[in-house]
Amino acid sequence: MEQALDITLTVNGVEVSRRVAARTHLVDFLREELDLTGTHAGCEQGVCGACTVRVNGDIVRGCLMLAVQADGCRVDTVEGLSDSKELAALQQAFHEKNALQCGFCTPGMLMAAQDLIKQKRPFTREQIRAHLSGNYCRCTGYQAIVDAIEEVLDGQG
């Protein structure tokens, strides 16, 4: 028997209310209940970073948070930040630098990278790598990803 709870949260600027099973993960709630499938689920143990979303402005693991823990919170996903054009420069740079191949890791990478870019200050390649250390990419070897992020950071001057 699993308990269900009513939650209300703001997802990509829109208020949503739902009844959810207490053990539903935030990433599954976003994907299955709200059809926001841009956020991926890979390892479900917090290791790969594919499920990265923003909660109240800070990036978190969607697989290590329960939907009920997001009650009353502001949640932003890759879809929301794409629509608002916040990710536009980064998406362009990822495209130009071939920073994605299969694309599985990309939403998480964009969310983690934007977390640096929105701070509007310079970062070294080492700092970029450290910030992305929790995001795995099996295809690109990271070089192109760091290049793309560096380009956007440089462009901010």
Binding site: Q69, R129, G134
Partner: protein
Amino acid sequence: MKPRSLDEALEVLERHGEGARVLAGGQSLIPSLNMRLSSPELLVDISSIGSLKGITLDQDVVRIGALVTHAELERSAEIARHVPLLAEAVRHVAHPAIRNRGTLGGSLALADPAAEYPACALALEATIFISGKRGERGVKAAHFFKGLFETDLKPGEIVTAVEVPAQLDGERSVFLELARRQGDYAIVGLAAFRGAETRFAFFNVGPKPVLAKNAALKKSLAEAKEALKADLLVTGDLYTDAATKQHLAGVLLERAWNKLSTSH
């Protein structure tokens, strides 16, 4: 289940006994649920309890609430100034998205042998405050960590805060860790402190962090390294054997020794 006060949380824990588990940041508990390693009947989400939050400096003691996150420790000016050992250590704890939710109290309560904070608590002679239905008690780090994922916490108890002495002028501390990649759990690590007394707290060399008591008393590095063998009684794990760990512990001791001895 999301209690608003400590009393309410303790009440619920008592009522549900073994079936209830405290949920703080969830960064260790949720993965274990995901892997079906544990399946408590009830999760008691303590994250709304205001009295478990915040960092305060009083006299020469820094009090850190159990719910203070890794990210808050990382950003805190008080921690950078008065507990530089923790400020250094937090950079080795997991990755940014995990640091935004994982808590100090959760890490101490979990007592993972590869975790950074338990060793810092030992090196700093921190006091861990615990509340239960029968009141509050303070336990020294040396008595709190009992073994592999095992602490002095009794069922129904909650870690509320940690107190550490502020680092004084002339005192030094160094945090060192060897890991495969940034943010991974340590292969071997060392939290070192030198004041009136020297303390070398090694972690991931066995089931719980250990103070290298004899090495700390030696006058020369060579003697200290020799003493380290008997101090640690290293055990290997799935990834690294005991001999390698013992060697790496010696390497860290040497680096820490040199850092503690050079004047700024």
